[in-house]
Each structure stands twice: as C-alpha cells, then as structure tokens.
C-alpha cells in the first residue's frame, strides 16, 4: 500500500500506535532481564523500571559456574541441531511432492498431516514414553530428536509445500526438458529457489526443539541429559526458588532465538507461507 503518501497526522498516529504496541510486546522480556539482574534482597518492587538499584550479574555467574548449565546447553544444542537437520530434510522432500506432483493419495496425505496436529499432544506423551522405553530410547538424545522432529513435521510440511507453490511450475518443466531427472530437477533447480522457505522451516524446528519443555520433562529423567529449558525448570521447582537465577536462565534461552528472529525477520515476510487448503 505504498501508492499513497499518508498525511502527517495519519503518519504520527501510525507511529504512535506502533510505539505503544512495541512497548507492550517488549516489556515482558525486559522484565525478565530486570529480574535476572536484581540483587537477592529485593524480591518484590512496585516500580515499573527495568534496571533495579544495585543491579548485578551474579545470577548469570552462578548459573554458569555453579549449575550444570554447560551440560544442559550441550544437550540442547545436540538435540536442536539434529531436529533442524531432520525436520528440514523431511519437510523439504515431502512438501515438494505435495506441491509439485499429482499422485493418488495426495489430498488424503495432506489432510493426514493436518489431522495429526489435532490430537492433544500431552496425551501422546504416555504411549510415546512407553514406546521409547521399550526400545531403550528414553534418556537419550536420539529419542528426544525423534519425538521433536515428529511434532514439528506436520507444520513444516505445510510450510514447505506453501513455499514451493509460489515457485512457477515452468522452471521444473524446463529442467526436465533439459535432461535432468526428477531428483536432479528437485535439488538443483527448485531447492535453491526455496531457500527462504527452508530458512523459515529451520527456524520453526529450531524454536520448537530449543524451547520445548513438556516432552523433555517426560522423556529425560537423568539430570545429565536435561535440555536447557528442562534444567531451568528444575531450578524453579526447588524448595527455595531463586528467581534471579531462573530469570537469568530464561534470558540465556531467549537470546539465541531472539537473535535469529531479528536476523531472519526479513526472510519471515514472504518465506512464511502455509499455502492454501484447497487442491
């Protein structure tokens, strides 16, 4: 809608609305940061200010040096990395078939990936736990990677399919005429063009595995295998919760995701597509 120049009053109004909304969007995150640098003796305050008197980074020090923070971090990195790799690979291939090919069972298949989202995921937990225990995959990275990949996959498949549909069919036809086989046409021609979609799919899978807590709680009972959120949750359920440490942990979890969002926010526009329900 860049055709018309807005008047000065309208522009001021728009900026005003956006500034107020941005403050509301950011304030809670700043609040967590404020709590994380709060000295121990101030538990509650009736101030709206973010930086408390006597601010200190001791909670961060304590978290890194006195808690098994680095072990949790390692576990989270391993699980998230492989979830992203697996999730993106599987969604890139399946989404491609759904978007560009016509084959018997296409529509039911697409609906299938929607339906699996409808079951309350918490109720899948118990059977999944029993299943993974049977094949000895509880308390293992692999078990968690499989669980996470599965839970993000339906959304990722829809997302990738939506993105492929914005790529004209003619490109692929041209590639086939030029003598590439179907697979080559896919990964030499279409896949590079789909990179904005792939980036967003990767972001989805990273976010869900990096932030997830309920499944990790059920599957990882050995403290050495805790992921970051699972470990931080443990801090908050202790007899005497140290809120500043909990908040410091939350900030550490948030930072990578927030940075990624900021870097990728231009990709998000246009890269984020779910396609249409029809067809």
């Amino acid at each position: 809608m860049s055709v018309r120049r807005d008047g000065i009053i309208k522009r001021t109004l728009i900026h005003l609305i956006l500034i107020v909304s941005a403050i509301i969007a950011v304030y809670p995150a700043l609040r967590v940061f404020g709590i994380s640098i709060r000295p121990d003796d101030i538990l509650y305050s009736t101030s709206l200010e973010i930086i408390p008197d006597g601010a200190t980074f001791s909670a961060y020090m304590q978290l890194i040096f006195e808690e098994p923070f680095l072990i949790w971090l390692k576990n989270s990195l391993i699980v998230s990395f492989f979830t992203v790799v697996l999730g993106v690979t599987l969604a890139a291939t399946a989404g491609y078939a759904f978007a560009k090919k016509r084959f018997p069972g296409r529509k039911p298949g697409l609906i299938f990936f929607l339906i699996v989202q409808m079951f309350p995921s918490t109720m899948l937990l118990l059977p999944m736990f029993l299943l993974l225990r049977k094949i000895n995959l509880t308390n293992s990275h692999l078990g968690l990677i499989i669980a996470y990949t599965t839970f993000v996959l339906p959304l990722c498949v829809w997302q990738m399919r939506g993105y492929y549909e914005t790529i004209p069919d003619t490109l692929e036809e041209a590639a086939l005429v030029d003598g590439l086989n179907q697979f080559q046409a896919f990964y030499k021609v279409i896949l590079p063009l789909a990179s904005p979609g792939l980036v967003i799919t990767a972001l989805f899978s990273f976010m869900s595995s990096w932030n997830e807590i309920m499944i990790a709680k059920a599957l990882m009972q050995d403290p050495d295998m805790y992921t970051l959120p699972r470990g931080i949750l443990n801090l908050s359920s202790r007899f005497n919760t140290e809120w500043s440490t909990f908040a410091a942990g939350s900030i550490m979890i948030m930072i990578p995701v927030v940075i990624m969002f900021l870097i990728l926010s231009s990709y998000l526009v246009g890269g984020l597509t779910l396609g249409s329900v029809k067809g």
């Binding site: 809608m1 055709v3 018309r4 522009r11 728009i14 956006l18 909304s21 941005a22 509301i24 969007a25 950011v26 809670p28 995150a29 967590v32 709206l48 690979t89 399946a94 491609y96 078939a97 759904f98 090919k101 084959f103 296409r106 299938f112 990936f113 339906i115 989202q117 409808m118 079951f119 309350p120 918490t122 109720m123 899948l124 118990l126 059977p127 999944m128 029993l130 299943l131 499989i146 990949t149 599965t150 939506g162 896919f186 976010m207 959120p229 949750l233 939350s250 948030m254 927030v258 990624m260 969002f261 900021l262 926010s265 231009s266 998000l268 526009v269 246009g270 597509t273 249409s276 329900v277």
Partner: protein, 319 residues
C-alpha cells in the same frame, strides 16, 4: 467420432493399469513422501492408536501398577465416553474452550492483519517495529506466561501499577483487581496473555500475503476515489483470505490445544476454575492418573477438532 466419455477413460485406464507404469509415474512422489510419513506414522499414529485402546479401559491409579508390571488391561466398553459426556463439567469446560478459542483466534487475526497493514508501507523504523513486534513469538511460552503471571500480581504486578498510574493521569477511579484470584478476571488474564503470544504469527502470515497483492489494484481504487478504509475492505481483506485460511485452521487447532497458558497461569491458584479441555485432560491424566478416562476425553477432543476442520475446509472450498 464421438468424444470418449469420462467413464470410458476411467475404464480404459483401469484396463491399462500396470504396476510398473504406476510406479514410473508416481514412484518419485511416494519416495519423497516416505521418510516423513514413516516417522510421523511411527511416533504419532502408534501412540494415537494406543491411546484409543486405553480409552476403553479402566486404567487408573489403582490399576496402573498391574498394568505396568504385567500389561493387564481391563476393558469397560464405552463407560469412559459415557462418563465424560454425561458430566456437566465437560459441557462447561467445552463452552469455556469455545469462548477461549474464538476470542483468541479472532484477536490474533484482527490484530495480526491490523499491524501488517500498518507495517506494509514506506516509513522510517519499519524494520525495528517489525522486529520488536515479533518478539512475543520468540520467547518460550512457559517463560512469558510466568512473567505475565508476575505482572498480574495484585500488589506488585505491572498491570495494576500501570492502570493505577493511568487512572491518576487521566483522572478516573481504578480499584486494583486481584486478577488471578477470581475465575472471571483470571480467564480474562489468560486470554490477554495468549492474545499477546499469538499476534506475531498471524502478523507475519498477513505481511507475506500483503506483499503478494498487486499494487495496481490500489492504484485503480485510488483513481476511482475509494477511501483507505474501502480499499482495505474491498481489496486487502478478500485477497488476504486465501493466505489466512490455513493459518486460521492451524491457529484454531493450536489455541484449542494450548496447554501452557492456562495450566501455568492457574497453577496452584485458580485450580480447575478456568480449565479448558486440554488442561482438564492433562490434570485428569497426570494429576489423578485417570488414564482411561483421560484417553477417552482426548479422543473426544480430537473428534471435535476433526469435525470443525472438515466443515471449515468444505465451506471454504464451496466458495
């Protein structure tokens, strides 16, 4: 020569059917789908069927030990389903879940489109606004819910403090609200938190959709003298619709099944007073270990969502 009818073609293709041709034509597609399909089938379908099976048993705290030791299950037919559907709580909670879902998704979509329209223009700080407005999406839900819980605190919460200060500035009376002690305000608080969490996703989908709208439409409307509001109503919204529809369906499913917000916000305080279906099920299963009952309950939740999506998709197809 007469044109072959559709039935003829079908008959012919049935006669011509050979596995080799079929595979040659579709094998690649199936190969591409196979890995995703297998992993989803194993990790979701198996537990799903397992859960379906549990729904017909009386598995609960007293029979759990037997089950874990010897795998013994006692089938009680449809009793669990009957119990769920004849309880008045189910209907209250269902009604609350419907209000929860409709209000949330409506606000997500409305605010999402609203912000997207504001952001889709040339102006300074556009990138900064966009980045800041996405932030609620980037924060893990359990963290933002816990922070909001603190912000709704009666004495020390930012919400009451802010409203009080506003009341001093603008000179109206504001009695501090004990947000989380009362079911009505507690439910409102939960909706506020969830609306805050869910706007960025819809905003980004809508922004993507807006970019695909041809600017010529607006130019033409401008020449015809259409106001900004008319342009939004007659150009923007109709053209956004196909882009927003899958997001709306997904949004409904996710809001309906959102455990985090209500569960964490009502934890230890408004216990069971503001439950929606999934939090109710979660407590029945992992709080009271009524696993058979909870399994039946989840099957019912699934059927409700399945029914909704089917009707919704059918309706949109016919338009």
């Amino acid at each position: 020569m007469s044109q072959p009818t559709k039935a003829d073609i079908q008959k012919n293709s049935l006669l011509d059917f050979s596995l080799r041709k079929f595979l040659k034509r579709n094998g690649f597609s199936y190969l591409m789908l196979m890995p995703a399909f297998i992993i989803v089938a194993l990790v979701i379908i198996y537990p799903f069927l397992y859960n379906f099976n549990l729904a017909f048993t009386n598995l609960s705290r007293s029979t759990l030990i037997d089950f874990l030791r010897e795998g013994k299950l006692h089938y009680i037919g449809l009793n669990n389903f009957v119990e769920v559907l004849t309880q008045s709580t189910f209907w209250t909670v269902l009604l609350r879940t419907l209000i929860w879902t409709i209000v949330n998704v409506f606000c997500h979509v409305t605010f999402g489109i609203f912000f997207a329209i504001l952001l889709d223009r040339d102006m300074i700080f556009k990138g900064i606004y966009r980045a800041l407005l996405i932030l609620p999406w980037a924060i893990p839900q359990y963290i933002s819910v816990l922070v909001w819980k603190g912000m709704f605190n009666y004495n020390y919460g930012a919400v009451n403090i802010l409203l009080e200060r506003l009341s001093q500035i603008f000179d109206f009376t504001y009695e501090p609200i004990a947000w989380l002690s009362n079911p009505t305000t507690g439910f409102m608080a939960a909706i506020i938190v969830n609306v805050w969490v869910g706007i960025p996703f819809m905003m980004m989908i809508a922004l993507g959709g807006l970019q695909s709208i041809d600017p010529n439409y607006y130019e033409a409307a401008e020449i015809d003298g259409a106001s900004g509001f008319q342009q939004v109503k007659h150009i923007t919204l109709p053209l956004l619709k196909p882009v927003m529809m899958p997001a709306v369906i997904l949004g409904v499913i996710m809001t309906f099944n959102n455990l985090n917000v209500i569960y964490l916000l009502s934890f230890k305080k408004l216990t069971e007073k503001i439950d929606i279906l999934v939090t109710y099920v979660y407590k029945a299963a992992f709080g009271y270990f009524r696993l058979g009952y909870a399994a039946a309950f989840s099957v019912i939740i699934f059927l409700i969502l399945l029914g909704f999506s089917t009707v919704f998709i059918k309706q949109n197809e016919s338009h």
